[in-house]
C-alpha cells in the first residue's frame, strides 16, 4: 500500500485501466455491449446496476479474467509502460475480491493466501504469508480477532469475507493498485462494513483505486467518488457521486417504462380472484386465481421461501392423488429433470398417482396424458418416448411446466422458470399461466426479470431474506421494485 503512493503521486491521472468500447458476448448473449470507462489512481468508482446488467462481466474484463470479444482494454503499469492481457493486469496490481467466496475451506488462512499471492514460495512461505495477512487484517479490520493459522472452514461467513478482503489489500511482490470489491459487505455487519469503507477511503487517498460494487446504495454514496450505472451491458450514466441523488440513481437503473403492465389480464381482477388460499408465516399470501410475483435481487431468499413453502405443504411420507402444491423448477438440472428418463416419464411424474390401474401404472392413460400435453404446450419432438435430454432447454422447461400443470394441484409454485428460455417459449408460457389463472389456479412466481413480475396481480419484494414490500396491481412497477430491493439507508446509522 505504501508502494502504491509512488504511482499515485504522478500528477494528473494517467488511467490505470482504460476500456474502450469493450464488448463481450457469450454465444448470443451480449453481456457487455460497448463499455468505455477509465479508472485512475485515487478514484473509487461505484458500479451499480440490476442483476444481469453486466457488472460481473465488466469486472472480469477489467481484471483480465475474460478477454473481450470486441474493443480494447489497456493497463498502465507503475513504470508508465502500457499493455494488455491477464498477465499485465496482474503485474499492474489489479486485485479482485469476489462475493462468491473463493477461499478453500480445508486450508488455513495463510495457506489460502498463497493462491492469489503467487510470490509466496520456497522455504518459510507460511511465515511470510502469516505476517502479510495479519498485517492486512489489522489495517483493514482493527480488532478482527482472526488468527492466520485458523482453518477457513471454521470461520464464519463474515470472517471469511474479511479474510478475502484483507488478502485483496495485502502487500505483495506487486502492490495492489486497483482493488475490485464485488458486494464486499453483503455478509458483513454494519460496524465491520464501516471499517472497510474507512479503509477504502484511506487507500484511495494514498493513490490506490477501487471499484466498489454494492446493492447498498448508502455505502456507494458514502465511499465512491464517481458512480457508473450499468444496464443491459452498457454504462448508461456516469457522474461524480455528488451529482446523483439516491432516487435519481434508482430511476437511472430502471428507466424503461413497462409496456407489459397494460397487457396484464383481460378479465378484471375482481372477477378472477377469489378467497385467500395461502398464507405463510413470513408474510406471503395469495388468493384463488391470483398470480403472485416474488421479486427483488437474486439470492435474497425468494427461492428458499418457495422451497420452504412447498416442502411444508407436501409431506415426504404420504402420497396423494390431489396434491396441494406443484413445483416448477427453474434450475432444471438440480430441481427438475430426471436425466435417465424419457420425455413422457418426466412429464407424468407428478400426476402419476392418478394414473394407476390395479396398483400398476396405466400405460395407456399415461400415453394419452403425454400426447395431450404435447399438443397443448407444443413440445417439439417426434416421439414422447425420446430421452428428455434430447430436447432443447426451452422444451425441457415446457415438460416441467406440463408436469406441474397436469396435476390437479390448485397452487403452482414457480422458481424462476424462464431461466434460459427463448422469447417465443416465454410468450407461450405467459399465455398458459394466464389461462390457468383464469381457470382458478394460483401461481407463486419468483422471477429475476422485472418484465415478468409486472405481469403479476401482486408482488412481494424480497431483501435479505425478508419481504420488504408488497405491491398490488398498478403499483408493480420497475421503479417501485427497485426501490424496495435496495437498501436506502446505511444500516444502524
Amino acid at each position: 500500500m505504501q508502494l502504491a503512493t509512488t504511482a499515485g503521486s504522478s500528477p494528473p491521472a494517467i488511467p490505470l485501466v482504460a476500456l474502450l468500447d469493450a464488448r463481450m458476448a457469450f454465444g448470443a448473449v451480449r453481456a457487455l455491449d460497448g463499455v468505455s470507462l477509465t479508472i485512475s489512481p485515487g478514484e473509487c468508482v461505484g458500479l451499480i446496476g440490476h442483476n444481469g446488467a453486466g457488472k460481473s462481466t465488466a469486472v472480469n474484463v477489467i481484471n483480465g479474467g475474460l478477454t473481450p470479444t470486441g474493443g480494447s482494454v489497456q493497463y498502465t503499469l507503475a513504470d508508465g509502460s502500457k499493455g494488455n492481457g491477464a498477465a499485465v493486469a496482474r503485474a499492474c496490481g489489479i486485485r479482485s475480491v469476489f462475493q462468491e467466496l473463493s477461499l478453500c475451506p480445508n486450508l488455513t488462512i495463510e495457506e489460502t493466501i498463497r493462491v492469489p499471492h503467487r510470490d509466496l514460495k520456497g522455504f518459510g512461505w507460511r511465515k511470510t504469508a502469516r505476517k502479510r495477512i495479519a498485517k492486512a487484517l489489522d489495517q483493514v479490520f482493527p480488532g478482527h480477532g482472526i488468527e492466520p493459522g485458523m482453518i477457513v472452514g471454521d470461520l464464519s461467513i463474515a470472517e471469511r469475507q474479511m479474510v478475502e478482503i484483507a488478502a485483496g489489500f495485502a502487500e505483495g511482490s506487486i502492490p495492489a493498485r486497483l482493488v475490485i470489491l464485488d458486494e464486499p459487505t453483503s455478509s458483513l455487519d454494519a460496524a465491520v462494513a464501516r471499517q472497510l469503507l474507512d479503509h477504502v477511503r484511506k487507500f484511495c487517498a494514498s493513490g490506490g483505486a477501487v471499484i466498489f460494487i454494492s446493492h447498498m446504495l448508502g455505502e456507494v454514496f458514502d465511499v465512491a467518488t464517481r458512480i457508473d450505472v450499468m444496464k443491459d451491458g452498457k454504462i448508461i450514466d456516469s457522474r461524480p457521486t455528488s451529482d446523483f441523488t439516491q432516487q435519481g440513481l434508482i430511476d437511472a437503473m430502471g428507466h424503461v417504462a413497462s409496456t407489459k403492465a397494460e397487457a396484464r389480464s383481460q378479465t378484471s381482477r375482481e372477477d378472477r380472484i377469489g378467497e385467500e388460499v395461502l398464507n405463510t408465516p413470513e408474510g406471503l399470501s395469495a388468493r384463488r386465481g391470483e398470480i403472485v410475483g416474488l421479486a427483488g435481487l437474486a439470492g435474497h431468499g425468494q427461492a428458499e421461501a418457495l422451497a420452504r413453502y412447498f416442502v411444508s405443504r407436501s409431506a415426504g411420507i404420504h402420497h396423494t392423488k390431489t396434491p396441494e402444491v406443484a413445483f416448477v423448477a427453474g434450475d432444471r438440472g438440480r430441481d427438475g429433470i430426471m436425466p435417465l428418463w424419457s420425455i413422457l416419464q418426466n412429464l407424468t411424474l407428478t400426476h402419476l398417482p392418478s394414473l394407476l390401474r390395479r396398483g400398476l401404472v396405466d400405460q395407456k392413460a399415461e400415453d394419452t396424458l403425454a400426447q395431450d400435453w404435447k399438443q397443448k404446450i407444443g413440445i417439439r419432438t417426434e416421439n414422447m418416448n425420446n430421452p428428455i435430454l434430447s430436447l432443447s432447454g426451452g422444451n425441457q422447461q415446457k415438460v416441467l411446466f406440463a408436469r406441474s400443470l397436469a396435476s390437479s394441484a390448485p397452487i403452482v409454485v414457480m422458481d424462476d422458470p424462464m431461466r434460459g428460455v427463448d422469447v417465443g417459449t416465454k410468450q407461450e408460457a405467459y399465455d398458459m399461466i394466464r389461462r390457468e389463472a383464469e381457470a382458478g389456479r394460483t401461481f407463486l412466481w419468483y422471477s429475476t426479470e422485472t418484465d415478468e413480475v409486472v405481469q403479476c396481480d401482486r408482488a412481494f419484494v424480497f431483501r435479505n431474506g425478508q419481504i420488504s414490500a408488497e405491491l398490488i396491481g398498478e403499483d408493480i412497477t420497475e421503479e417501485n421494485i427497485l426501490a424496495a430491493s435496495f437498501e436506502m439507508h446505511e444500516e444502524a446509522s
Binding site: 412447498f310 407436501s314 415426504g316 404420504h318 423448477a329 427438475g336 430426471m338 400398476l360
Partner: protein, 320 residues
C-alpha cells in the same frame, strides 16, 4: 430395418445384463471342458440352487443401490443369520411350525429394515454406517439367542429346499418368482417409478411431490425382508443355521448388482442381470475349484474376472 426378431437379437449385446450371462456361459463351458461333461447336470443344479440365495439378496441390494450413491445395505448378512437362527430355533424341527417359522423370519426382516431406516432418518447417519453398525447388533442378537445350538430344520422344509420340480430346484423356482415380481414392481408399478426418480435426483423427486421418505423406508425394509427370507431358506437348505452363514453374501450381494449392469450412480436397475451375476459368481468359484487352484489364487482370479466383466459391460455402453 431387419425384422423385429433379428433386430431384437442384435440389440441383445446392448442390454446391461447380457455380458453377465455370456460370462456365465463361458465359465460353464470351461468347467465342462475340464470335466469332460461328467457331473455337468449336478453342476447346473448346484449353480441354480446357490445362485438363488445370491439372487434374492442381490435383488434387495439392487433396490437399495438404485436409490443412488451412498445407499447400500451392509446389514444383509447379519439379518440373514438372525432370521435363520431365530426361525429354526422357533420351529425346533416341528413340521407344523414351518409357516409360523417363515413368519418369524420375515418379521425379523421387517423389524431390521425399519430399524435401519430409522437410524438413517432419525439420527441422520449415512446408510453405509447405519446398516453396518446395525449389523453388529443383529449379529450379537443372533449369538445371544443361538448359544451355538445347532437345530435341524423340520424335515418337510428340508426336503422342499433340497428338492426339485421337473429338474429345476424348488429354491430356484422361488427365486425366479421373486425376480419376476421385482421386475414387475420396478417396471410397472408407481413404486418402481418413484424409486428410479429418487435415485436419479432426490431433490427433484421431492419437488415433484414424490414421498421420498416413504420410498426410502420401503426400500430398506424390502431389502431386509428379502435377506431374512434368504436366511430362512439357506438355514433350512444347509440343515441348520450357523453364525457365519451370511458372511459371504455381503460382497456377493453388491457384486451381483454391479456385474448385472445396474448403475451404481443410481436410478437404473435391471433384474435379469442379478440372476446372471449370481450364476456367474457361483460358476467362477466352481470352475477355479475344478482346476484345482488354491484359495489365494481363486480370490485373485475372482476379483479379476469381476473387474473384466464390469469393464466390458461399461465399455459397451460407452460406445453404444
Amino acid at each position: 430395418m431387419a425384422n423385429p426378431v433379428t433386430s431384437s437379437i442384435l440389440q441383445l449385446p446392448k442390454r446391461p445384463w447380457f455380458w453377465a450371462f455370456v460370462a456365465s456361459g463361458i465359465t460353464f463351458g470351461a468347467t465342462y471342458a475340464l470335466t469332460e461333461g461328467s457331473g455337468s447336470s449336478e453342476l447346473i443344479s448346484a449353480a441354480l440352487t446357490f445362485a438363488t440365495f445370491s439372487a434374492i439378496v442381490g435383488i434387495g441390494q439392487m433396490f437399495v443401490i438404485t436409490m443412488g450413491p451412498g445407499n447400500v445395505d451392509l446389514s444383509i448378512p447379519a439379518t440373514m443369520t438372525l432370521a435363520g437362527t431365530l426361525s429354526l430355533k422357533f420351529m425346533d424341527g416341528s413340521t407344523a411350525l414351518i409357516l409360523p417359522g417363515l413368519g418369524i423370519a420375515l418379521f425379523v426382516g421387517l423389524a431390521a429394515g425399519m430399524f435401519n431406516y430409522l437410524l438413517i432418518r432419525l439420527l441422520r447417519i449415512p446408510p453405509i454406517i447405519a446398516t453396518l453398525s446395525a449389523s453388529f447388533l443383529y449379529q450379537s442378537l443372533a449369538i445371544w439367542w443361538n448359544r451355538g445350538l445347532r437345530i435341524k430344520p423340520p424335515e418337510a422344509l428340508a426336503d422342499f429346499t433340497t428338492g426339485s420340480l421337473a429338474g429345476i430346484p424348488n429354491l430356484t423356482i422361488v427365486g425366479l418368482l421373486i425376480a419376476v415380481a421385482s421386475w414387475f414392481i420396478l417396471q410397472r408399478s408407481i413404486f418402481g417409478r418413484w424409486l428410479s426418480a429418487v435415485g436419479q435426483n432426490t431433490r427433484a423427486a421431492r419437488l415433484s411431490g414424490i414421498p421420498v421418505e416413504a420410498v426410502k423406508a420401503a426400500t430398506f425394509i424390502g431389502s431386509a425382508v428379502l435377506a431374512s427370507l434368504t436366511g430362512y431358506l439357506l438355514a433350512s437348505f444347509s440343515g441348520g443355521a450357523a453364525l457365519n452363514m451370511g458372511t459371504e453374501y455381503l460382497l456377493i450381494s453388491i457384486a451381483v448388482v454391479v456385474i448385472g449392469g445396474c448403475s451404481i450412480a443410481g436410478g437404473n436397475s435391471n433384474v435379469p442381470g442379478i440372476w446372471g451375476g449370481a450364476l456367474l459368481m457361483f460358476l467362477v468359484v466352481s470352475m477355479l475349484n475344478s482346476y484345482g487352484l488354491g484359495a489365494g489364487v481363486r480370490l485373485i482370479l475372482t476379483g479379476t474376472i469381476i473387474i473384466a466383466i464390469v469393464a466390458a459391460a461399461s465399455g459397451r455402453k460407452g460406445s453404444a
